[in-house]
């Protein structure tokens, strides 16, 4: 199969899975089996693509010309590969988890849930494969719309309100800022293709380009740079598998991926380093890292705390892009993968606690560790990765990011990274520590029946926790891909 066709088939597999979900809605077991099989198939195809990209091939597919000069087209390069690998691997794992969760939690409308879930993955792959800004924007918005039914899944008053915030912020930023920036780029450069070295250099004055950079960074609302972060905590009303895969991996990573992609292929590192707003925006990302960590501190609701932790971690990647040097880009790209595995483990654990013990608040989880050791053990591993400590994968990406700040001589930002590590140590490790070592609250009438989460969910948790540890030992594939992005030999 030619590379271009392979891209198309890979992106369409989740759509086929969605179709399967609809057709097989009468028998839930077969329905879920189809999701898992299609998920595994998708990942297998992505692995096939990985092989080609490592060989230096850049699979490309021109679908059609939407307006003269602007194509709807796919082209896979190493950075897109990183995102596609992460999303396609975690999709079947999350589906496995969701089977246990949705049934254990007695959720309604499960067919609609699995349908839009698969569609959202197709959107994420579309973002990863985009060959130009226009295609990227199409799938970016597609991802926004097809996740709305998932966020508002419970159709309660709270879900409705969250849906408003979610759509409101994501569309305000993307239409109001990002789209203007894209059209501006088109007017200036006459192309919207992603090209090595960028397309904007020399097309306008530094002032104009600096302004466009601001439009891009804030316009990608999915990257959740403050003050456009409120949609992410709002999205937490969704069932936990949605929070885990979409709002810790697919949707938010689509955002930071877009920022990285724009930094490398629209501006180019060299141009980026000369713009006045680059370092301001880097500091805005730095501020988000610290502020979001502080808010996370205050949150007693576990999912809310994880959401703010995600906001903080996303800005690591934005910061990496804005350091405008190779180490920063490598660190940012690797962090897409490292954070994904760590954070999905944390969300899986949070959901497992909700299903098994019906607890959402951290203060009421004391002592639960003894009854749910695997869940809290996994939470501990995930926390290590997010904080950036060995032996978890997060240590590597943080290492490169820190090196990047040194290379850029931004010692203040290095301090930001270190401070956030300290904060993370507290607000994340508090959870497993208290669960293992503190006595249960006195009014907690814990029945004897509490035990670990349903088996499918437990298997999923173990897979991601093991992967998080594995990434510390084998980070090579990510580093190699990211080195190809910045033009090194790998």
């Amino acid at each position: 199969m030619s590379g271009g066709m392979l891209l198309l088939v890979t992106a369409l597999l989740p759509v086929a899975a969605a179709g399967g979900v609809l057709l097989l809605r009468k028998s839930p077991n077969v329905r879920e089996a189809s999701t898992l099989i299609f998920g595994a198939l998708t990942f297998w195809h992505v692995l096939g693509l990985l092989h080609r990209v490592q060989e230096g091939e850049r699979p490309r597919l021109d679908m059609l010309e939407v307006v003269p000069g602007v194509q709807l087209a796919f082209e896979l390069e190493p950075l897109g590969m990183v995102f596609a690998l992460v999303a396609s691997f975690l999709w079947p794992v999350t589906s496995l988890y969701a089977i246990g969760y949705m049934r254990g939690h007695h959720e309604e409308n499960q067919t609609r849930f699995f349908f839009f879930f698969a569609i959202a993955i197709a959107g994420a792959l579309g973002v990863a494969f985009s060959a130009n800004l226009f295609t990227l924007f199409v799938f970016y918005e597609f991802l926004t719309f097809c996740t709305v039914p998932l966020v508002t899944h419970h159709q309660t008053e709270e879900a409705k309100k969250s849906g408003r915030v979610y759509l409101g912020i994501l569309l305000t930023t993307s239409v109001g800022l990002q789209l203007v920036a894209i059209i501006w780029t088109w007017v200036l450069a006459g192309t919207v293709d992603f090209r090595t070295g960028g397309i904007l250099a020399g097309t306008a004055s530094t002032g104009v380009l600096s302004a466009i950079l601001v439009l891009y960074v804030y316009g990608v609302g999915k990257a959740a740079v403050m003050p456009f972060h409120r949609w992410l905590p709002a999205a937490m009303v969704a069932p936990t598998p949605v929070s885990a895969l979409l709002h810790a991996v697919a949707v938010v990573k689509a955002g930071v991926f877009t920022v990285l992609k724009i930094a490398v292929y629209v501006f180019g590192i060299d141009l980026l380093a000369t713009l006045t707003t680059t370092s301001w925006l880097a500091w805005a990302a730095g501020a988000t890292i610290i502020l979001a960590s502080l808010v996370a501190f205050k949150k007693d609701n576990l999912k809310a705390r994880l959401a703010y932790s995600t906001i903080s971690q996303l800005s690591y990647i934005v910061l990496g892009a804005l350091l405008a040097n190779e180490l920063g880009i490598i660190g940012g790209g690797m962090h897409i993968a490292m954070h994904a595995f760590g954070k999905i483990t944390l969300f899986f654990a949070a959901g497992a606690i909700m299903v098994a013990a019906h607890e959402k608040k951290i203060s009421r989880m004391h002592g639960l560790g003894r009854t749910m050791p695997i869940t809290f053990g996994a939470f501990f591993v995930g926390s290590l990765s997010i904080i950036g400590l060995p032996p978890a994968g997060g240590a590597w990406s943080k290492w490169f990011l820190a090196m990047g700040t040194l290379e850029a001589e931004q010692y203040g930002l290095l301090a930001v990274l270190m401070l956030s590590t300290l904060l993370g140590l507290y607000y994340l490790l508090e959870v497993p520590v208290k669960a293992f070592f503190f006595a249960p609250p006195e009014d907690a009438h814990r029945s004897e029946g509490i035990h670990e989460a349903p088996t499918p969910s437990l298997i999923a948790i173990c897979i991601t926790a093991a992967a998080t540890l594995g990434l510390f030992i084998w980070p090579e594939v990510w580093r190699e891909l990211m080195t190809m992005v910045v033009g090194g030999a790998g």
Binding site: L64, E65, V66, V67, P68, L72, F134, F137, V138, E141, F142, F145, T152, Q155, A159, K160, R164, L167, G168, L171, T172, V175, G176, L179, V180, I183, W184, W186, V187
Partner: protein, 491 residues
């Protein structure tokens, strides 16, 4: 026959109109209207194809050579508009059969089809003619038939709405005819091409700027540019559903075309934009239209009325495009004529489906419709996505060109305001979505999905609004060529 196609395009529906009236039976009248609309679609498509390959078609009516006889003159611009009008007519007419049976008493149905045919031929006549007095005649034909169709609405307020429109519309038409009269006095000709040649010699005379002003006011009243839009919301709200769908997608669009024709072809860009500074008037007014009317739409609780205000805002986008006075801007305006016809037609037709089953389009009556009428509401969401300007819909294509036109002139403020307009569209569409999908329906009222005879035409437009958003290369090319033609000043 094909050489007479420009005339037959208008004449066939015009002759079928009395046939429909004389038959005096709903079925026969419908057959006549159906034949008229599909003939117009065929003829306009054939003409557009010919214009694209052979260039301008000039047709001397009755063999009297222009500029003395009446000339029908088709170039890319009006062929494109004629196709838009005919497309909507052809899609709305099968829809009307079911919808009208429910909303209009049976003895008046033949008259409805008569008026529909008259309006269609009037609009097509305005579009293809090369003679300014002829424009006025066809304008009156289409307006009078529009008044009578609005008056057929069930709600008694339809009568006051009609009266309001009648007064305002007649004022507009009078202004236009005064403008034409002044031009005739100064040049002694009514032929558009001839006028364009003779006007420059008399530009210095004050009569011409006065004629220009009368025409500007008259046309902007007809196309409902803020603040001359007051007739529109009531007319759209109380007219029968099929009439609203047809009018909203065609009547104002043809007036936008008139604006282009008068300002660019007859007066010329240099006079209209250089000397008269038309952009200084049109740009602020269209921006106010976009923002203020979207704001009003957000607070509307009758969905047809909400869409009517949204139409006034969308007309703002078309006029805004024109006011840039650049190829990109005029392209955006022309594209939006076609694109908005598709999406607004779909939206009003979806509301017609609701009207058919629920008997009301008040927001409060639409609770839970997402479950009870899934296809209707899905069509509404589809049309709504276009209105917001989501990529891969026609609305996005319009915005892509419009914002480009603004940024090309370094006018980032206007670019930003256009985007704010899109976001306001999101708010009023989402408001309807929330009611339809998140509120529980009254369980004691039995509501079923609309019949297929309504759903299929509706979905044809919804699918078209995605189709031409995914592959806009043809429409964009035609619009760009047409815009270049207009700005060159020739026709």
């Amino acid at each position: 026959m094909s050489e007479h196609l420009p005339a037959l395009l208008v004449v066939v529906p015009l002759i079928l109109a009395p046939v429909a009236a004389l038959s005096n039976r709903p079925r026969a009248a419908f057959a006549a209207a159906f034949a008229g609309c599909w003939w117009a679609l065929y003829a306009s498509l054939a003409l557009l194809t010919r214009v694209r390959s052979e260039g301008v078609i000039s047709y001397a009516l009755g063999g009297w050579a222009p500029p003395y006889g009446i000339e029908l003159r088709l170039d890319l611009v009006n062929a494109f508009v004629a196709v838009t009008v005919a497309t909507i007519g052809a899609v709305v007419i099968p829809y009307a059969w079911t919808s009208v049976k429910k909303e209009i008493t049976e003895d008046r149905i033949p008259l409805f089809y008569t008026a529909f045919l008259l309006m269609l031929s009037g609009l097509l006549g305005i579009t293809v003619t090369g003679d300014v007095f002829n424009v006025f005649v066809f304008l009156e034909i289409s307006s009078l038939s529009a008044y009578s169709m609005i008056a057929l609405g069930q709600d008694r307020r339809a009568l006051t709405a009609t009266f309001q429109y009648l007064i305002m519309g007649s004022v507009g038409a009078t202004f236009i005819v005064i403008g034409i009269g002044f031009m005739y006095v100064m040049t002694g000709t009514l032929n558009m091409a001839d006028l364009a040649e003779r006007l420059p010699a008399v530009m210095d005379n004050r009569t011409i700027p006065v004629a220009f002003t009368f025409l500007t006011v008259g046309i902007t009243l007809k196309l409902a540019l803020f603040p001359l839009h007051l007739w529109l919301p009531n007319a759209y709200t109380y007219a029968p559903s099929a009439v609203t769908a047809f009018m909203a997608s065609t009547a104002t669009k043809v007036s936008v075309y008139l604006l282009l024709r008068f300002f660019f072809t007859i007066f010329g860009f240099a006079f209209a934009f250089g000397q008269m500074r038309l952009n200084m008037v049109l740009m602020p007014l269209s921006l106010v239209a976009i923002l203020a009317m979207s704001l009003v739409a957000i607070y509307e609780i009758n969905v047809k009325r909400l869409l009517a205000f949204s139409s006034v805002a969308q007309i703002g986008y078309m006029v805004l495009g024109i006011s840039f006075g650049s190829v990109l801007g005029v392209t955006a305006g022309l594209l939006h004529i076609f694109n908005h016809a598709l999406m607004k037609g779909a939206l009003f037709m979806a509301m017609g489906c609701v009207m058919y089953r629920v008997g009301s389009v008040q927001l409060s009556k639409m609770a839970g419709l997402g479950k009870k009428m899934p296809w209707t509401m899905a069509a509404f969401v589809g049309g709504g996505l276009s209105l917001i300007g989501v990529p891969l819909t026609v609305g996005f294509i319009s915005k892509w060109y419009l914002v480009q036109a603004a940024l090309e002139q370094g006018n980032w403020l206007v670019a930003g305001l256009v985007m704010i307009g899109s976001l306001m569209a999101l708010v009023y569409i989402w408001k309807v979505v929330e009611v339809a999908y998140f509120q529980e329906a009254d369980s004691d009222v039995e509501i079923r999905e609309a019949p297929l005879s309504l759903l299929i035409p509706t979905w044809v437009l919804v699918i078209a609004s995605f189709w031409f958003g995914i592959d806009a290369s043809t429409t964009a090319q035609v619009a760009t060529d047409a815009a270049e033609l207009l700005l060159r000043g020739g026709s």
